[in-house]
Symmetry: C2
Subunit: 512 residues, 2 copies
C-alpha cells in the first residue's frame, strides 16, 4: 500500500516541542495543564478545514474593515471557498423562506396566538398550520426533549427513509443529533476500543481522522481512484483489510462518504454492493456519511442510492446481518442550515443492547438542539405540491441546486484548461478537488519552510487573491500528489476563478 503524504494525524506531534507560557509567571512552577500533561491524544488531532488558513483569512476580513489596513491588500474581499457553509456572509444562498417562517412562529408562539391575525397578513396558511402542529407536539422550543429527539419527528424521519428506500424504518432506531459530525463522534466513540481499526477513504473529510486520533482508534486508509473520478476500488479495499489484519489490527468499521467530500464522487449500486459484501465477509460495521444525498448533479446518470436500500436489497443473509449507521444533516443539501446543528442517524441491524448504550450516552448530553430537530422535520417533510408554500419552496431550492451544479461544472472546466492543474468533474456534494502539479522547486521551498507544498500554495493563494481553499494534505492524498478543495458555494465564480488562474500561472512560472 502507498503511504499517505504527510498524514494529517501525524504531523501534529511537532507541536509537542513548542512551549508558550507553560510556566506560571508568578512563581515559575509548571502549569497544571501543559502540552505534556493534557490528554496526549488531543495533540495528534488535526483539522485543517479550520486551521492556519482559516485564522489568516479571519485576519484579512478584519483588516478589510479598517480602511488604513485595507489599502495595503491586493484584494478587496475574502472569498471563503474553504468551508461548506452555504449561508455564510458574502455567499448568496438565502435560507429557505418556509423554514424560517415556521421556526419564527415556534420561537415566539405569541405570533400564532394573540398576534395570529397580524401574522395571517404576512405568512401563508400552511406555514401557520405546520407551526401549530409542531408546537403541539414539541411544546416550547426551549425545553429539553427526549434524548433521542422528539418522537413525532423521528416518526417522520422513518417515513422519509421508507419512502426514499422502499424498506421500513424504526423511529426507535433513529437518533436526532447536533449535526452529522456530532453523530459520527458518538458512534465512533462508542463502537471502537482503543487500537481498533476504522477504514477511511483517502481523501476524506478530516472529521474522521480527528475523531479517531482523539479516541485512539486506528485509521486504515483506502485510496479512492482519482483517474476514475475518485471511484472506490474493491481490490484496494480488500488489500487494505488484509494488510491491517496481517498487522494484527481488528478492522471494526468502514467509513464511506457518498456523495464524496472532498471528491464529489457518487457511488454506483455495484460499487456499494461490493462494499456491503466486504462488510459482511469481514464482519465490519458500515458507517455511511450521506449528508450530501440531496446534492446530486446528474440524477439520471448517477442517482443517489442509500446504503440502507442496498443492504436491504441484498440476499436475506446479508440484508439482515450487515450493521449499518447512516448519517444525514440539515447543514448541506439545499437547506444549508449549518449553524442550527441538526441531523440524524439511523441504526440498521444493530443489537438492541447496543442501541440502549447509544441511548444512554445520548442522554448524558441531554438532547440535540431543538431548533435543529425542527430543521430535520422540515428537511424530511417539505411542503407538498398544492400547498401554499410549495411553489416558493421549489423555486428557492431549485435555484440553490442549480447554482451549485453550474458553478461546479464551470469551475471544473476552467481548472482543466490550466497547465499544471487537472480536475475530476463532481457528480455531487459541494466541492471540487483539483490536482496541482506543484513544480519540484516549489516542493523544495515548502520543505525548507516546513509546510506541505499544497499548504504553501494555498496560503500564497490567499495572500495574493483573498481566496480561501484548503490544501489537499488536510484530507489525505497519495504521496507526491497535491490538491486543493474549493467549494462551489461562492457567487461571482467567473471573477474569482480568473484570480485563481492568474495566481496559478504566476506560481507555476515562478517555480518552473
Amino acid at each position: 500500500m502507498r503511504s499517505i503524504a504527510r498524514p494529517a494525524w501525524r504531523i501534529a506531534s511537532t507541536l509537542r516541542t513548542q512551549s508558550r507560557a507553560m510556566t506560571n509567571q508568578a512563581n515559575g512552577r509548571p502549569k497544571v495543564l501543559t502540552l505534556q500533561s493534557i490528554n496526549q491524544a488531543v495533540l495528534d488531532v488535526q483539522y485543517a478545514v479550520r486551521g492556519e488558513l482559516a485564522l489568516k483569512a479571519d485576519q484579512y476580513v478584519h483588516a478589510l474593515e479598517d480602511p488604513a489596513k485595507a489599502k495595503g491588500l491586493p484584494f478587496d474581499k475574502v472569498v471563503t471557498a474553504n468551508i461548506g457553509n452555504p449561508q455564510q456572509k458574502g455567499l448568496n444562498q438565502r435560507p429557505i423562506t418556509y423554514w424560517r417562517q415556521v421556526i419564527s412562529l415556534l420561537e415566539n408562539p405569541a405570533l400564532m396566538e394573540e398576534h395570529l391575525e397580524v401574522i395571517k397578513s404576512i405568512y401563508p396558511n400552511d406555514v401557520i398550520q405546520r407551526a401549530k402542529g409542531l408546537y403541539k407536539e414539541i411544546g416550547s422550543i426551549g425545553a429539553y426533549t427526549h434524548s433521542k429527539g422528539v418522537l413525532a419527528i423521528r416518526e417522520r424521519v422513518a417515513k422519509f427513509i421508507e419512502t426514499r428506500d422502499g424498506y421500513p424504518a424504526d423511529p426507535e432506531h433513529i437518533f436526532l443529533t447536533a449535526g452529522a459530525s456530532n453523530g459520527v463522534s458518538q458512534i465512533l466513540g462508542l463502537s471502537l476500543q482503543p487500537g481498533d481499526g476504522c477504514m477511511i477513504p483517502i481523501p476524506q473529510y478530516p472529521l474522521y481522522t480527528a475523531t479517531l486520533s482523539y479516541i485512539h482508534g486506528r485509521p486504515i486508509p483506502y485510496y479512492l481512484q482519482e483517474p476514475e473520478q475518485w471511484s472506490m476500488n474493491t481490490k484496494v479495499l480488500t488489500e487494505a483489510v488484509a494488510k491491517a489484519k496481517e498487522e494484527g489490527v481488528r478492522v471494526k468499521a468502514l467509513v464511506v462518504i457518498n456523495p464524496g467530500n472532498p471528491t464529489g464522487a457518487c457511488l454506483s449500486r455495484e460499487a456499494m454492493e461490493q462494499v456491503v459484501k466486504l462488510c459482511y465477509d469481514e464482519n465490519i460495521l458500515l458507517l455511511a456519511d450521506e449528508v450530501y444525498q440531496r446534492n446530486i448533479f446528474d440524477p439520471e446518470h448517477r442517482p443517489f442510492i442509500s446504503f440502507k436500500e442496498v443492504v436491504r436489497s441484498m440476499p436475506a443473509e446479508i440484508a439482515n446481518t450487515v450493521e449499518l449507521v447512516s448519517f444525514h444533516s440539515i447543514s448541506k443539501g439545499v437547506s444549508g442550515e449549518c449553524g442550527r446543528r441538526g441531523g440524524y442517524f439511523e441504526l440498521v441491524n444493530l443489537s438492541e443492547d447496543v442501541v440502549d448504550q447509544i441511548y444512554k450516552m445520548a442522554s448524558v448530553t441531554l438532547c440535540p438542539p431543538v431548533s435543529g430537530q425542527v430543521g430535520v422535520d422540515l428537511l424530511v417533510n417539505p411542503p407538498k405540491p398544492g400547498e401554499e408554500s410549495y411553489d416558493q419552496w421549489l423555486a428557492e431550492t431549485t435555484l440553490t441546486h442549480d447554482n451549485l451544479a453550474s458553478r461546479s461544472s464551470y469551475m471544473c472546466e476552467r481548472f482543466n484548461a490550466l497547465k499544471g492543474m487537472s480536475c475530476q468533474p463532481a457528480e455531487g456534494a459541494m466541492y471540487l478537488f483539483p490536482k496541482i502539479d506543484i513544480p519540484p522547486k516549489a516542493v523544495e521551498e515548502a520543505k525548507r519552510i516546513g509546510k506541505p507544498a499544497d499548504v504553501m500554495y494555498s496560503l500564497q493563494l490567499l495572500d495574493a487573491t483573498g481566496i480561501c481553499a484548503v490544501a489537499g494534505s488536510g484530507f489525505g492524498q497519495e504521496a507526491g500528489t497535491y490538491h486543493l478543495r474549493v467549494t462551489a458555494l461562492c457567487p461571482g465564480v467567473e471573477d474569482y476563478v480568473g484570480k485563481i488562474e492568474q495566481f496559478h500561472n504566476e506560481f507555476m512560472a515562478k517555480w518552473a
Copy 2:
C-alpha cells in the same frame, strides 16, 4: 474516607452479563457491535437522571393519552420533578418574551425588512433594534460561526464577567458552548489523561461521573456535609487529596458545583478561598460549575460569588497562578432555555498553548448552535432600565425567581414535618435533596430485587402518584443514607407534596 453507597460508576458492570439479540438471527454469528466488543468505558457510564425512572415516566405519559389505559392508573398526570427542565410541558415557566421576540426576528429577518411595518405594530422598538444589531454582527442564524462562537457575543460575555466580578475578562479566553455539559465534556476530555484523578463532590450532578467513566478519568469523591447545609469541609478535601496521592493517583482537577446540584448549597467566600488555596498548594485545575449563579434565594445572607472573583482577589502569587475554568449556561437561571443548548466557559490562567488546543478541539465540532449563542447574548446583556422591554422582562424574571424560591422553602418545610424525612433548606439552584430514613426491612427488600433502596422508593413513588423524583444513589451519597432529588419547578406544589407525604407515610408504615 467513607465509601460511597453503590457508586453510580460501578454498578453498571452487571450490564456486561446481559445479552439481548447479540448474534445475527440470519446466521448465528456474533454481531460486530456487542456489549463485549464496544468501547468498554461506555458500559461504566451511569446517568440516573434519564434512566429507568425517566423511561417509566414516559410510558405513563403515553398511557395517560389513551383513555382505556389511563383509567387503570392511580393518577391523572405525571409530575416531572426529576429534570431541571423549566419550560417542559406541564410546568408553568413561560419563556422570557424579550428573548423569543428577538430570536423570532433573527430566524426570519424578512420580519424586520419587508414586514417591518407589520412587526412594529406588535413588537417593542428595542426588540427590533436588538435583533437588527445581532443580525448585522452574526448574519444568518443558519451559518456556521467562529468555532469559539461569535466574537461580538464573546466580547459582551467578557463585559458581563467584568461587571459581575470587577476584574478584566478576555474574549479570546471565552468559548461559547452547546450548554454547560458540553463545555464540561470538552474540558475534562482535554485535561485528563487516563488514570488522572478528578475530585468531585458527593452528592454530584452525574454528568461528572459519566464523563469521567467515558474518558477513563478517576473520580476522587469528597463528601459534602449534610448536617451543615451540605457545606464543603476543607479537612475532608485535604484528606481526599492525600489519600489519592498515597494511592499514586495524580490529582489533576477539582470540580465545585456552586450553587450546588443536587444540594442547593451556596458557598461562602471563606470556603471558596480555602478551595482556591488547596488548588494552589496542590497544583490542581479548578472547574467551577456556576450554572445556577442566578438562582440565589437569599442574596443578602448568601450572595453568589464567582470563583473568578475569588481567585483574582487573592494574593498575586495565587491570583495569577490557579488555573480555573468556569461554566455558565442559558438552561437554568430565570431563562430556562435548555433546548436551545447554549452556554460558555471562561479560561483563567491557562497556558496559551493549551487554549490553542481547546480551540482546535472546538473547531472539530464546527460551532455551537447559533440560536444558543444568541441566548448567551441575551443572558449577559438583558434589557436595561428605561428600555421599552425592561418592565416586562423584570416582571417575568422576578416571577420565575420568586416561584422557585417560594416552592423550595414550602417543600422543605413540609418535608421536614414528615417522620422519616429530613431536608436541608436550599440557598440556591432548583432542587431539594431530602434524606429518607428507609426502614431496614425496605432496604432488605430492595437488596432482594437488586436495586438501591432509594431507587425502589422512587419507582414506587412514581407508580403510586405519577411523581418523578430521582433517587440519591444517582448522585452519590454516604453509605447507608438515602435521598431523593426533587425539582422546585413544578406548579401545584401543595397538591403534589401532599401526594408525596401520603406515599411516604404509607411506605414507612408498610416497612416499619
